[in-house]
Amino acid sequence: MAPLLELKGITKRFPGVLANDHIDLTLEKGEIHALLGENGAGKTTLMNILYGLYSPDEGEIFVNGQKVEIHEPTDAIKAGIGMVHQHFMLIPVFTVTENIMLGEEYTKFGSFLDRKKAAAKIREISETYKLNVAPGAYIKDLPVGIQQKVEIIKILFRNAEILIMDEPSAVLTPQEVDELFIIMRKLVQQGKSIIFITHKLREVMECADRITVIRGGKVVGSTTPKEADTKKLASMMVGREVELKVKKTKAQTGKQILSVQDLKVLNSQEQFAVDGVSFEVKEGEVLGIAGVQGNGQTELVRALTGLLQPAEGNITILGKDTTKQKPRFITELGSAHIPEDRQKDGLILAFPVSENLVMNTYYEAPFSKGVRMQFDEIAKKGKELVKNFDIRTPSIATPVSNLSGGNQQKVIIAREFSRPIKLLIASQPTRGLDVGSIEYIHKRLMEKRDDGCAILLVSTELDEVIQLSDRIAVMYRGKILDIVDADKTSKEILGLLMAGIKPSDEMKKKFKKEEQIITT
């Protein structure tokens, strides 16, 4: 029998790039097929071709053995193909029902919307796949995880047999990701088929039936989770051996760099997002802040970097009280900041790479003389940093918006690390990045630590916090529940803390971590 979906020799050229180079891909009925590759490998391009957003330069698409022509999304929908985009396509002020029936409206009396009928079908779908979505709720009131379910229902509503999911876990919390995988399993059990695009190895190993790895627009291999291991997949993806584990030596701590006392910070709803937090970070150590997204980490970092005025408490950086200081004062003290949202806060996307590289030193010599910018000097510095930090860009005059996520992050790292810094506040430094970039950034962070820099690492990826930190503070509802040694604490204990439960001594014993062998 012919496979459900077959792509043959799909080729797509963009000016200067071969995004897809004769890609073959088959999808059997009832399987989850993971498409694994780094950012910019051509996964999304391929799926956009399948969904009719791009037309291929070469190649053919077969559904159930029949050749189909897909020029527009409507063609794809007709062929039973649906797509959940990375960024949701929902209208916030419409209800779930209205969003789902948009473009496929049920009507009564000729031209009136039949919301009831649509809602009934949505309820039916929701129950079949255990999605738990209320048809009458407004999108703007729903958390991201539910919004994604709405996107999935939208596709099922249109009777799709093939679901394309583009990096579905990128916007979700770990719990929501687990739930998503359960839903995906259920969908497959009911006879649907899924193409799952990702660059996260753990997810692939957890939920895929088959894995196809793409690199540089070409298929480099196909395998199954049983045959493969993460290390092998990572090297297939990146094209070389990858160090997934970070080499960590024992911390050589020195004097205190950052000290926070009873800090309280209000969020935009005038609630205490940070509610009485105290900690300190010393030279040469990494303090990790773990916690589920939205427990006050964002506000804490904004207060530390001078972007938000704390309501109460004190912040001392390098012996100076910075509680009420402006961002520039804090930067000039020798503090660096890798922001959580690199595109919104970290970069001026429309500006060239070189200017972004001097974004917080442009007013100093040699980059300006008086008020005159010295663009020659800025270009010189730009070239130097692009080389040293291996930033992949056509030129230093290219707007940063044209760079891949990993390279955008490298621009920020290059900018912050090229200054003499004593404190680094890194917020989600590897969010949304591929394996190669994560490896690179972790290595750079550890180098900085070993140079004697104090690092505050805020991350919702528990694995990352455990790997990089010397001590871990767990935040829950604006408070730090406990600060523990990274070497002596197991993942289970941290998980409990993240859920807001202070483990008893018995539990601590039960989950006691075997002493790690520390290389010095």
Partner: protein
């Protein structure tokens, strides 16, 4: 040998490829397309064309071309002068005849001058992410303060009095821009609404001033006194040519704004704020200060437009002296892609069109409004480059076009 031609061919291909992607070409084609469509419009609104069509099809087509040609040639003559006239005038050697013949060209430059100032004002605002709809009001205030410095200060030599009067105009506009800038920065009030309201205040305030405190006691109608001779912007020719120093001041200011925006740290900060306010704040730039400075500067440029009019042309302030320069300048800034040099070019285009349209109405009886339609068509095509790309099958540029970024109504 063969290889060489191949290389050359490749070179040409690359040239056309690059050309078809350049935004300059889109602007050029937008203007051409606008001209063609307006020509059609003129032809279809002329009775003679229908008469000719009722006789024969080709006759109708011919008549259409004739009508469009006569419209545009009178537009050209009105804005540049009649070439034949100019040649014969130079042959006579009579000064006045020559000046009359070349006057349309210089008059167009005179018309373009306030456009340059006001266009720079709006463009500067856009660069910092601010939508200054208040240019018209700032023009009025600039004219008011400029004219006051022009008549109230006496006994100064021209080379001191002119700069002082111009600066007074700039200062007036700056105050009118500062208020919305300050309110926006401190309270988050949207600059669009504030500047619109400030426009009304400016109009009525000007009316009040020239009806009362600043009215010339020797006049019965509301007018300010004449400004001092020493405040007159220098004219370079005798009558009827009104071409004056203001044009060169405008060019100088355009260059200064270019230098400020693209070569100084101040401009860098302002552009950073305009492009991504939260990114700029994160980089330690004081966004509050940037907003206030940008609105004040924007206002001062519009103020210069007003001062330029009273000091260079009218020599006194009369009610409703500006005819929508401030509003046209929004369109003009967009046409010039918010770049000072682009603004100068589009101001020249607007100046020439505005000046030529009068002649067009006189000579061929085509209403002045057709020029407004022409401007509107050109702008529509500029604002939606996709139309032009589709018509002429141009390639998309590799780098996304810099689109206008103005903060939303939510105050974000």
């Amino acid at each position: 040998m063969k290889e060489k031609t191949k290389k050359a061919e490749k070179g040409i291909a690359i040239f056309f490829e690059e050309l078809s992607k350049s935004p300059g070409l889109v602007t050029f084609l937008a203007i051409i397309t606008g001209i063609i469509l307006s020509g059609l419009l003129v032809a279809f609104t002329t009775i003679e064309v229908y008469d000719a069509f009722s006789v024969s099809f080709w006759g109708g087509i011919k008549e259409m071309f004739k009508v469009a040609w006569s419209t545009y040639s009178s537009l050209f003559v009105g804005s540049f002068g009649d070439p034949k006239n100019i040649v014969s005038a130079f042959q006579t050697g009579d000064g006045l005849t020559i000046r009359r013949a070349i006057n349309p060209f210089f008059e167009s430059l005179v018309q373009a001058t306030p456009y340059i100032f006001a266009g720079l004002s709006v463009a500067l605002g856009f660069r910092v992410g601010l939508f200054n709809i208040g240019a018209e009001g700032q023009i009025f205030i600039g004219a008011l303060t400029g004219v006051y410095a022009g008549y109230a200060i006496t006994g100064l030599p021209a080379f001191i009095h002119i700069p002082i009067a111009l600066l007074a105009g700039a200062l007036g506009g700056a105050i009118w821009g500062f208020v919305p800038g300050f309110l926006k920065a401190k309270t988050g009030a949207h600059e669009v609404i504030i500047t619109i309201m400030m426009n009304y205040i400016a109009f009525k305030f000007t009316d009040f001033m020239i009806n009362g405190p600043m009215q010339d006691p020797n006049e019965f109608t509301p007018k300010t006194p004449w400004i001092q001779e020493s405040a007159h912007l220098t004219r370079f020719f005798d009558t009827p040519i009104r071409f004056h120093l203001g044009f060169f001041v405008a060019l100088g200011v355009a260059f200064l704004i270019y230098w400020f925006l693209f070569k100084t740290t101040w401009g860098f900060e302002l552009r950073a704020v305009g492009s991504n306010p939260s990114g700029a704040r994160y980089a330690g730039i004081n966004t509050t200060r940037a907003t206030v400075i940008a609105m004040s500067l924007s206002g001062s440029l519009a103020g210069l437009a007003g001062a330029n009019e009273v000091l260079g042309l009218n020599f006194r302030l009369v009610p409703s002296f500006s005819s929508g320069y401030g509003f046209d300048s929004i369109a003009l800034a967009l046409l010039g892609k918010n770049h000072p040099f682009g603004v100068v070019l589009s101001a020249l285009l607007f100046g020439f069109l505005r000046n030529g349209s009068r002649q067009m109405q006189l000579k061929s009886g085509v209403p002045i409004d057709i020029v407004s339609i022409l401007q509107a068509l050109i702008l529509a095509f500029i604002a939606a480059p996709a139309i032009i790309r589709t018509i002429y099958r141009l390639k998309k540029p590799d780098i996304e076009e810099e689109s206008l970024r103005v903060s939303g109504w939510g105050g974000s």
